[in-house]
Symmetry: C2
Subunit: 395 residues, 2 copies
Amino acid sequence: MGAVRAVEPLHLRLLRLLRDNGAVSRAELADRLEMPRPRLLAELERLVSLGYVAEAGLAASRGGRRSTLVELSPNLRFAAVDLGASSIDVEIVNGRLEPVVAYAEPADIRSGPKGTLLRVNELLHKAKVDGAYERLDAVGIGVPGPVSFRDGVPVSPPIMPGWDRFPVRELLTREHGCPAVVDNDVNIMAIGERHGGVAHSVDDFLFVKIGTGVGCGIYLGGEVYRGTDGCAGDIGHIQVDSHGPMCSCGNVGCLEALFSGAAIAKDATAAARAGGSPALAERLAANGSVTAVDVAEGAIEGDVVCIRLIRDGGRRVGGVLAGLVSFANPSMIVIGGGLAQLGHILLAEIRSVVYRRSLPLATGNLPVVLSELGSRAGVTGAAVLASDMAFMEAS
Amino acid sequence: MGAVRAVEPLHLRLLRLLRDNGAVSRAELADRLEMPRPRLLAELERLVSLGYVAEAGLAASRGGRRSTLVELSPNLRFAAVDLGASSIDVEIVNGRLEPVVAYAEPADIRSGPKGTLLRVNELLHKAKVDGAYERLDAVGIGVPGPVSFRDGVPVSPPIMPGWDRFPVRELLTREHGCPAVVDNDVNIMAIGERHGGVAHSVDDFLFVKIGTGVGCGIYLGGEVYRGTDGCAGDIGHIQVDSHGPMCSCGNVGCLEALFSGAAIAKDATAAARAGGSPALAERLAANGSVTAVDVAEGAIEGDVVCIRLIRDGGRRVGGVLAGLVSFANPSMIVIGGGLAQLGHILLAEIRSVVYRRSLPLATGNLPVVLSELGSRAGVTGAAVLASDMAFMEAS
């Protein structure tokens, strides 16, 4: 019937409320959680003794006796890690998920799990030495490929040689003595955007990442939907042109073979060489190569070839999204990833195709918007996952 | 986290178990529901007094004192109605959803809600006069268009003029003095197939109906997914050929403009006139028109044009499904609706495209199968919905 909703344990709802709202009075907590006060006070006492919750002074008067404020313990620390195809982003955050320290550096995911995770652990230990934490309460990590969320391992990830079924969660748990949680990089971006970005409290939305590759994070009914094998959202390999170019997956005409960081760099290089684009030719001569950033800059300068490249890409993405809107009837689409920097020309083209091609009922009230968190979406989502994991275990 | 599962009320689990298993001993019920016996006995007593449950004699001995069997009351009756574009199917079923009486007749959904529902009510009253029931415990109805499941009304249904926001649920509730539930026709087929067909107890699957139009019922996590506006699964209007024919929706190259009951009849008529298909030319001459049934028969006789028509259609459907498999990563695809009669040639082509075009991880263990319930899928699902609704209210 779909009418029976999951009831989350009290301690999880309480800790999430403190995470997302900061210090709250006991009186307000009882109201917002719709709990009898004695049960709430008992639960709070338990969470204080476990070190999750701390006193935070007196609340402003509501007329009667002043209620005392509680907040998450200032000692809580979560590690959030976002592994990209060519980057490592690490943040240590406090209970409210505010960064205490952040590191970002280039890295090649193809160097394999041992070297990559060794470097992650080195960065985390450096943060400890620098005083960012004494102990971690949980680690959340995103990887650029399909993940068995239940098992905490990557599963047949196409661009991650050596990572298949590597025990990422187990290794991190053992190294840091705390729970760890592993998810796909696009899923953590979607989770981040829902926590602190444009999709705040939206229950059904698609987060479309257009970067080195193309992928989609799916929120349905307020939960990330991961599919039977953990690979839901793999939209980069949907065919958009049966006569299109060969894709790295071995098929022809996949979306990401036609529009992605790699594809637009290739098309832009060809355009620069063919003449007709002064903006791209100039940048090719100066740097020896052109990238999506050059195309974005060229478009801002009014270079028509750059504008056409972005529009063509937007039309391809829009065509795929129109189909997914007809299928999934989401209430929002968020565009993120590196190529979101192509900005409003891209967005306008995607919107135009989606609004024209999908059922009017499904698009009547469907915002198609850019990510607000940008490059921080991933680590934010990893921090949310880590805190949820730690909070679940506080029982 | 997705880790917190819905807990269904005891009475709902108990009544569903009796519906799906028939007479069960009290001892076995306590085991299967993992309930303390006293609480179970109290609940059973309550449900007996409400008229939902009845005694059914003694169970076979399990060694000690013989346990008594209980079953759903033999007086329970649900009405299941499946409105198609051009048909009305009605069944009265008992508590175990076995048909007591069934009617099927042609009807035009475009004649509007008043005339159509008047005829539904006439059929239901005829069933009463014929002794199929004394009173109905719930009515379930499927309609060929998007539905607000919460409000019990069709919403902007393209092929149902006059039905937009018509109070279908309210009218049926008032007429029959019992709860009523309204859903989309493809959703009820998916529900039926999961209850008594090939998708039995499968939690994540797509039910693809290929009939007059094309649509998709979506099961995710054991629940029907209906989308933000109730129109999820509208895959008939996904574009498969940007240079394709005009569709009734106003766009060009939609899947159902290229492959559906109407499209294949048009293509078959053209092929019959053009020569090259003896099987179709013969049937056109004999009947003045050709339909999908003629194409199916011609293919069985080995007519190459008929085989090609089916293969072309299968390739179109397969291309759309390959994209949806990449997106949703389901664990099964069921093909139903009138054109499922095109059978194994169609299925082979769909499979071939899906297996070739989707991520290997998503297709490694993905059955693509024909509906088992065929034309009874819809009424079966409507009966499941009606009984769930009645059982929910038994509290």
